[in-house]
Symmetry: C2
Subunit: 126 residues, 2 copies
């Protein structure tokens, strides 16, 4: 693939994601970055988010609701979705990689991994 050139816009997106504990959507990121670069376009946001995901510098969380969310924390971890406030929180928990073996037991193919998120009520909504 071609080499990436520096861009202030991409830096700003990465910077923002690395400093927030939220898990914003592309649109939220767009509104946030627009405070610094008012002319930035949604297309640029999406293009850079995809580039950063490819480079492994951010994580894309999909399937939690209609739109994708992004996470600046690239360490392997699981997410929690609060059914009330819809917030996405990081979970600190022991490995559950053994579920791959459980799934593989009666399965003729090869299981490489799993995608999981947990849901319920967060502390504040309880």
């Amino acid at each position: 693939m071609a080499t990436l050139k520096y861009s202030r816009q991409r830096e700003a997106i990465k910077e923002y994601l690395s400093h927030t504990k939220e898990h914003p959507t592309a649109d939220t990121i767009y509104m946030r970055i627009r405070e610094i670069y008012p002319n930035i376009s949604l297309g640029t946001i999406y293009r850079n988010l995809s580039l950063l995901v490819e480079k492994g510098e951010i994580i894309r969380i999909n399937g939690i609701d209609g739109s994708d969310h992004y996470d600046g924390n690239t360490q392997k971890h699981y997410h929690f979705l609060c059914k009330d406030c819809q917030r996405i929180l990081d979970l600190e928990m022991d490995s559950i990689d053994h579920i791959n073996d459980i799934a593989n037991k009666n399965f003729p193919g090869e299981i490489e991994g799993h995608a999981t998120y947990f849901y319920g009520r967060c502390e504040e909504c309880n």
Copy 2:
């Protein structure tokens, strides 16, 4: 909620889903049902799929790729996504409900459940 009236279209959708082992999208279901009812509209497909999901007669699988998939098998089970052929297969496996407890250990909120699918290569693509 209002009582459901019988409709041939809804019956056909349910019938089709209960006899296929695939996990079709709304659009695939649309093309399939159109062979029987050529005038059926996509809106009707979507409306009935949602009704059937609400009634618990089918399952909606979301987050596996861009569009939702539907499953006529309403017994609790997990899904496998083949990274090569993109097929979705049913898994027969032991319960992994204990991962809820693992996730809850250091978590101040309340975890009610999880959404999980496995991925890898299916038998045919291996």
